[in-house]
């Protein structure tokens, strides 16, 4: 336990330390990369609640990531062009405020997860994997062919949205925002795992019959977990869109779902800091391998294969050893 805690602290500190070092050395792009790692880690933390804690192998989390992105895109593009989103029955205006956008993203992601989860959770196993994939694909095709918000071209937001008291266009300040959100969500996720809900949810993953026998319905636990998971991933999507100042249907594609899953697995399923380790490693690989060869996907594939086959428990599992029961 102590070893994993220590590792977590080191890992967690690695992000701001790298960002600060890059700031000192005037390497703003490195800050951008670390910010990207923090945001993708956030998406992974979201998925990990469904996947690691609840055992729900969702292959459709891109749906929530994309919805978060589009929440930002739609609101900010209307604010950018000074056109209201709708005028009747009541006026809704666009906004450039990050806090409002986050709220909308969380609610949208949560509601979508409620609908998708309520339908998908009727199935189990491979069927669940595939039906979540199907919902993701549905949104993907919808986003591509719906012309109002740019379709395949996506939406560009020229100036990053506003956060009270900070200049969001400055890479280090935007990093601070993303990292702050990640830290808060990690804290919430750690409390969640230890809460009554977390205890029951994780028990339902280990043995659903046991949970039923003590009078708790696994379906409700899983649905709530799916909603929380979707809401967090949507929040990450909104931040990711703000990082790029751009949203496009790519955020909905099944590759995105696969990648978020890869972060979680690379780092270690069900480990609180697994997604952080996984996302950081992924970004590192993308830039180290991508610089070495146009064909870096081969190496990424090989590495992923090795992790799945031989390093179960991912990076953290390998470094920290067997998971100890939560106390």
């Amino acid at each position: 336990m102590a070893r994993e805690t220590l590792l977590n602290i080191v890992l967690f500190a690695l992000l701001p330390v790298t960002a600060l070092a890059a700031f000192m050395l005037d390497e703003p792009f490195v800050i951008t990369l670390v910010t990207k790692a923090a945001i993708l880690a956030l998406a992974g933390v979201g998925l990990n609640i469904a996947l690691g804690l609840g055992g729900l192998v969702s292959f459709g989390h891109a749906a929530f990531f994309g919805l978060g992105g589009y929440a930002m895109g739609v609101l900010a593009s209307h604010a950018q062009s000074y056109t209201p989103i709708m005028e009747s029955p009541f006026l809704i205006e666009g906004t450039k405020s990050m806090l409002v956008i986050w709220g909308v993203a969380i609610v949208t992601g949560g509601l979508a997860a409620l609908a998708i989860g309520a339908l998908s959770l009727r199935t189990t196993g491979v069927y669940f994997i595939m039906i979540t994939l199907a919902f993701g694909q549905m949104l993907y095709y919808f986003a591509i062919s719906w012309p109002a918000y740019g379709g395949e071209d996506g939406l560009s937001i020229y100036i990053r949205n506003e956060f009270p008291g900070l200049n969001t266009l400055d890479p280090i300040q935007f990093f601070a925002i993303a990292f702050g959100v990640l830290a808060i969500v990690l804290f919430i996720a750690s409390r969640l795992a230890k809460s009554p809900f977390g205890l029951a949810l994780s028990a339902a993953r280990q043995n659903a019959e046991r949970v039923e026998t003590v009078g708790i319905t696994p379906f409700r636990l899983r649905l709530v977990a799916f909603v929380i998971s979707g809401a967090i991933t949507a929040l990450a999507g909104a931040l990711f869109a703000d990082l790029n100042r751009f949203v496009s249907p790519t955020m909905f594609s099944w590759h995105t779902s696969g990648e978020i899953m890869v972060f979680v697995i690379l780092g270690g399923v069900g480990r609180l800091f697994g997604p952080v380790a996984g996302a950081a490693l992924y970004i590192l690989l993308e830039h180290v391998l991508g610089g070495l060869s146009d064909f870096w996907h081969i190496y990424l594939g090989l590495l992923l294969l090795l992790v799945v086959l031989f390093a179960r428990g991912g990076l953290i599992g390998t470094l920290a050893g067997r998971e100890v029961a939560h106390d």
Binding site: F29, G151, D153, G154, P171, H297
Partner: protein
């Protein structure tokens, strides 16, 4: 053959790496190229890169950093950030796809960087979203289609069947054709992006009384459609913008493409000095026929170098003025910039023919001379 060309590309890539890390930067221009080098659609990016490097070969004042966007908008945006923030480039170029351009260009020009588009010309960047620092060296999305529309009107094509994928570029292309076409549009079909089977659409074509099918289906979609169309026995004329009949694609379609008319601003048989040299040099360097993407990459580098000879890139106004002159020998023949920094150029009508064993394009006439896009009116700069 494929393998050989790959080795050639690899050695050029090594060369470019050498260029990228060449030392000093004062008085020189540092160019960041973001293009698609891996995954689907990599062929287009590789051609733009090779064309650009061919034209820039030996120019020690031009430092080039090449990055692969994997055809993902978010990666492209981050690479642009990297090139601007870390590499401190003066000029950006290379993007193939409209959606990636929309993601990168506004942010890059907002940060005071020049952007030269070697491909992709979304209407937003030609009209309201135009910028003094943005130069399109390729075409506005509608251009080939408007030219095709007027050619069709003048050449007695009375009824057309229109088809494109259901996404903004597809809708733009069809709108462009309809803008200049005076005959009857019998049917207008939008397919799924990435669709591979066109049996249903071909059946609709057979059932319609159109005399000509006009379509825009880039990349693999066009290959699939043309092969299936040829096998269907439907014998209507086929037309389209050049994207589905480019050299890289014709090889995969084969004889099925013979006789198709397509509009392009360039063709390898254009008889001007610059083009003859370009085609010969490209074949000598890479061992394959150049595509229109290679031609655009080549022209982009020529334009940039012409401006470098006249002004320092640090003086943005002077450099912009130098670029606006477009004082270079384009492989397309006459080339100048409209006030919105988009090309004024001839658009040719080509026909797919067989030369020996090779299926390729031949110019059969001019579809629109000194063509200029319609969006410039909205451009205030």
């Amino acid at each position: 053959m494929k393998l050989k060309s790959l080795i050639a590309a690899a050695s050029i890539a090594a060369l470019s790496a050498g260029m990228a890390y060449a030392d000093a930067h004062g008085g020189k221009v540092k160019v960041g190229m973001i293009t698609t080098l891996s995954g689907g659609g990599a062929g287009l990016g590789i051609d733009v890169r090779d064309g650009f490097m061919l034209a820039a070969k030996g120019n020690e004042n031009l430092e080039l950093v090449i990055e692969d966007d994997q055809r993902k908008p978010d990666i492209a945006v981050q690479l642009a950030d990297k090139l601007i923030q870390s590499e401190k480039v003066d000029v950006l170029t290379g993007i193939i796809w409209s959606n990636l351009a929309m993601a990168v260009v506004p942010a890059a020009t907002a940060q005071g960087k020049f952007y030269l588009s070697p491909n992709a010309g979304p209407s937003a960047l030609a009209g309201k979203g135009c910028s003094p620092l943005y130069f399109n060296v390729a075409w506005q999305n509608d251009a080939f289609n408007e030219a095709a529309g007027s050619w069709a009107s003048e050449n007695d094509i009375k009824k057309v069947f229109l088809m494109a994928p259901n996404y903004p570029a597809g809708q733009d292309m069809i709108a462009g054709f309809k803008r200049t076409y005076t005959g009857e549009v019998v049917e207008e079909v939008y397919t799924k992006l990435g669709q591979t089977d066109y049996a249903a659409e071909i059946a609709q074509m057979r059932a319609s009384d159109a005399d000509t099918v006009y379509f825009f289906l880039p990349g693999g979609m066009g290959i699939s459609f043309m092969k299936q169309y040829a096998g269907s026995g439907v014998d209507k004329n086929v037309m389209g913008p050049a994207f589905s009949f480019d050299q890289g694609i014709l090889g995969a379609i084969g004889d099925a493409a013979l006789g198709v008319k397509n509009t392009s601003h360039w063709s390898k048989d254009l008889d001007n000095e610059a083009n003859v040299k370009f085609v010969a040099d490209f074949q000598a360097e890479f061992g394959r026929l150049p595509s229109l993407y290679a031609a655009q990459g080549y022209d982009t580098a020529l334009l940039l170098q012409s401006a470098m000879g006249k002004a320092d890139v640090k003086d943005a106004a002077a450099f912009q003025a130098a670029m606006e002159e477009a004082d270079f020998a384009s492989v397309r023949g006459d080339f100048s910039f409209a006030p919105n920094h988009h090309p004024i150029q001839d658009i040719y009508m080509r026909e797919v023919v067989k030369e020996g064993d090779v299926v390729t394009n031949k110019v059969i006439g001019v579809a629109a001379s000194a063509h200029q896009d319609v969006y410039g009116a909205d451009c205030k700069m």
